[in-house]
Each structure stands twice: as structure tokens, then as C-alpha cells.
Amino acid sequence: MTDVTADLHVCDDWISCKIKDLPHIHALVPFLLKAGTWLEVVPGLDSITVQFDSARISVKEAASVLREQISTGQETAISAPPAIELPICYDPEFAPDIHGVVSQTGHSVESFVAWHQGLDFSVSMLGFLPGFAYLRSTQDMGDVQRLEQPRQHVAAGSVGMIGNQNCLYSFSSPGGWPIIGRTPALLFDPGKTPPNLLQPDQPVRFRQIGREQYDDLVAGLP
């Protein structure tokens, strides 16, 4: 008898499955949500996790249903949403970790800023907090590491950088990413449908703005 839980990680009410291919993850999420089996479907960067009602579905049953859904799930074709340009301000107050990041990437602050704006990103994942976006670049971005100890308070709009990823903090929260700048863009607006500014797979570039322009843009937000 084959073990249906092999290469899945099973807890009592959630199961995590490693999936290497990000477009495959993005295609599976709507498919698994529609299946109606799961309370939550949570994409990760190399995994997909489903939560279920553990009073109704046994661990074995959930594992075998998930395995079947993943193998038979048709890859829904998703067209990438239109590219978006996000303003970013690298003011020292907004970029507490820029010097550490700059030294790890072999740049001066000036050349880092120019280089950062030339990078093409796409949204690899939404999560962590409502509207929080993980951005991935195909270009080599060096090997910046997560902070040894997470910060208790990262400001809303902060742009973080680890490895070949950037992230966007939609709300102020604790966090472990080195912070290199801040965007005034409203990343999550509950009054809108969908409330998220960014969508999975959306192409993203950054455009530098000065501190004054940042302050003006923030003053104009609701």
C-alpha cells in the first residue's frame, strides 16, 4: 500500500505540499479554492498549503484528496495582469538597512538606487498580511540575508530585500526583512474589490521619488 502522506507535511488540520514551479502554484490556488474541500488554500514560494475541518475529514483522506487534486488539477491559464510602476522613496529615515544591503551587493548607495530601479520584478506571492506582496526578480541580486532578529515595528509601505526578492509591507507590523525604502502606494484598500493593489504574476518596477513628493502623495491618500 502506498503511503498517501509521503512528501506532504501533515498536521492535524493542514497539509503542506512542496511544489517547485511558481506558475503551477498560481494556477493551482484558484483550482483548489473552487474544489470546495478546503477552508483555506495558502500559496507559498515553493509550496501550497490547505487547511481543512479536522472534525469532518481525516488526515489520510485529506492527504489523498489533495494529492489527487494536485495531479488532476488542470493548469488554468492565467494572463498576467498589466505592469505597474511603484513610486519609492530611499530617504535615510525610510531605509534603515540600506547601508548593510548596499555593502552586501557591492554598490554605493547612489549606484544601488539606480540599479534597483532597473530591476524587473513580478509578484510571486501575496501573503503574510493583507496586501503584503513578495516580488521576485530574474536578475541576480546578490545574497542579502534576513535580519538575525525580527524588528518589532516595520512601517507600512516599507520595501524589504532578501536574496533575489523584494517585499512590500502593506501595513506596519513586526518583520525580518532588511528595509531599503518606502512606497506611498496604498497596497490594501478594503473599500475596493479586490482590496489588493497587486495580483500574483503582475510585473512591477520601482521609480524613485524624493521625500517631498512622498509626503505630498501620502497627504493625498484617504
Partner: protein, 314 residues
């Protein structure tokens, strides 16, 4: 029915059932941190178990009522007073216009729940009246309550006969917590002796704790490597271990994904206990299997069924 918040205490929020079905866009669960106490409070005022309650944290809290209404209080409060006269926890009681209610501070445990025999007069957000503090969504204006806030609830016709929680259904609160866990996906990233230490340590709930989570203080754990891992799903009750080796336990407002190794997961049956963890409390983690954990959960629901009916815990 209208109430006015006089003293909100440390943190008082409107909490009901968690948000669900939105974790893929980063929406946390929120909801009553000790869902069992919240269900018990709702039972006493004739509400469905997942109805909205006020969650009161550690400190004393006061409000006045502007019309006759029926309320009930459960959880960690040392006492409840109406106009300085003692009322009883786990028993519904009638209030008349002008009454001032004081929910005493928690002596043991951390959170108390106030249920009203009426629903909030405003609309729920994403299907719940719970407060998502990080996003400023839901609950009452997406935030903790402040002095002077006026909350309206629908009028209620709940009979004046008091209901009382049968004694066998009243949770025992203590400063020592046994939390059963299953191994997390990165449990094996811990060094061999740290895997044992996770369960032999007497952990202490940290001073910096919130609905998002609490640090577990104790002899630090050692990870086999400190490489960054790709962010993956976390849930309320997930225990993560950052490179400094001091694990933290995620609460109901936990983010939806995280990048630190997930070494353990508190089982669903025990997750409501996290809501009563107060800074300084002792925590012992006990390893169980996912199958056994499901059995424990089903047994717990069966035990609660005669009083609470068919509920789920979150």
C-alpha cells in the same frame, strides 16, 4: 441597545468567528483568541456560538448601557461589577439604562468575553464581525475600543431568566499550560538535542505578547543551518524558530505566511488555550501525532456538545 465604553483597559476588541477563505490574499484569521470562552458567553445570552463578543485583555474594562439589555461575561476576569455591586461570571444578567459594568482585571489567564443578546448594528466585513487590527478592518472601525466609543446592538427579546454555565463546562484557568503539538514541516531542521529540548523545556510566555503571538523564553534552540527558507504558510498555533533560537508561538492574528522554520503546530483542540496565555505563564509542549490530535479534537467537541451544541473551535 447601546453601550458606551468608559475605560477600554489595555486592549478591548470586537471578536467573533475568524475570517476564513482569504488567507491566499494575506487576510489573517483574527476572531476570539479563546474561542471556547467566547462561545460559552454567547450561549448564556441565547446567541449562536460564533456571534460577536467584546474581548477584554488583562486589564479592567468599564462600559455603561443606555437601555435595558442582557449580557454575560466569561473568561479570566477576577470579578464583574454592576454599579459597584458584584455580579457573577458565567451567568447571564439583566442591565437597565444607566448601569455601569466593570469587568475586573484577569488574575489568572488573560482574556474575558462579554456577550450581548443582540448583534452589532453595523455590517460585518468579509463575513465576520471580528477585528483585524493589522489591517484596520472589521470589528468596530477596525481598531481596539477607546473611551467614549458608542456601540449599538440590535434590540433583543431574550427572556430575563438567567442562564448559568453548568460547572463541568467552566474552563479551569491556570498559569501552567500544556499545549499539545504536532511536528511542523521544519521540525527536523532543529539539531537532535533541540528536538528533545522543545518538549523538555519549561517555556515561559514572553512579556512582549499580543494577539499576533508570544515569544517562548527558555534555553534557546539550535537550528542545523541558518539559511533563509522560502516563505510558506503559517497558522494560529504555529511555533516558528528564528536563527537566534528563541521560538515564538503565533496567535489568532498570525500573519498568513512566514520565513522562519515551523518547528511545531499546536493542535486544533488546544488552540483556544493560547488566548489565555499571559506574560510570564509556563508552557510545556507535548508531542502528538496528527491522527491522535484529530481524535482529541473530536472528543472535545463531543464533550462540549450537550451544552454548546454542534460547534467548531478555531
Amino acid at each position: 441597545m447601546t453601550i458606551r465604553i468608559e475605560k477600554p483597559g489595555l486592549q478591548t476588541t470586537v471578536q467573533a468567528a475568524p475570517f476564513f477563505g482569504h488567507r491566499h490574499v494575506g487576510m489573517p484569521a483574527a476572531g476570539a483568541a479563546d474561542c471556547l470562552s467566547s462561545c460559552l458567553a454567547n450561549r448564556l445570552v441565547g446567541k449562536i456560538p460564533t456571534a460577536a463578543t467584546l474581548e477584554v485583555t488583562l486589564d479592567a474594562m468599564e462600559f455603561t448601557v443606555r437601555e435595558t439589555c442582557t449580557i454575560a461575561v466569561t473568561g479570566a476576569a477576577e470579578y464583574v461589577k454592576v454599579n459597584d455591586e458584584a455580579a457573577t461570571l458565567h451567568k447571564s444578567f439583566r442591565l437597565t439604562a444607566g448601569n455601569k459594568v466593570r469587568i475586573g482585571p484577569a488574575r489568572t489567564g488573560c482574556r474575558s468575553y462579554v456577550a450581548f443578546a443582540g448583534d452589532p448594528s453595523w455590517n460585518p466585513v468579509l463575513g465576520s464581525w471580528s477585528t483585524c487590527l493589522q489591517a484596520g478592518l472589521g470589528g468596530y472601525q477596525g481598531r481596539g475600543l477607546r473611551a467614549g466609543d458608542i456601540l449599538e446592538f440590535s434590540a433583543n427579546n431574550f427572556p430575563s431568566d438567567a442562564l448559568e454555565t453548568p460547572v463541568q463546562f467552566i474552563p479551569n484557568l491556570s498559569g501552567h499550560h500544556l499545549l499539545r503539538v504536532t511536528a511542523g514541516p521544519e521540525f527536523t531542521k532543529l539539531e537532535e538535542d533541540s528536538r528533545h529540548r522543545l518538549f523538555s523545556n519549561k517555556w515561559q510566555s514572553g512579556q512582549r505578547s499580543s494577539r499576533m503571538g508570544t515569544m517562548l523564553a527558555g534555553t534557546p534552540l539550535d537550528l542545523q543551518d541558518h539559511n533563509t527558507m522560502p516563505s510558506a504558510a503559517v497558522f494560529p498555533g504555529t511555533i516558528q524558530c528564528p536563527p537566534d533560537g528563541a521560538p515564538f508561538l503565533l496567535g489568532p492574528d498570525a500573519q498568513t505566511t512566514g520565513g522562519y522554520p515551523r518547528v511545531a503546530q499546536v493542535i486544533r483542540a488546544d488552540r483556544h488555550l493560547i488566548g489565555q496565555l499571559r506574560p510570564g505563564d509556563r508552557v510545556q509542549l507535548v508531542l502528538t501525532s496528527p491522527e491522535k490530535a484529530q481524535e482529541i479534537y473530536r472528543q472535545k467537541l463531543k464533550l462540549l456538545q450537550p451544552w454548546l451544541g454542534d460547534i467548531s473551535l478555531w
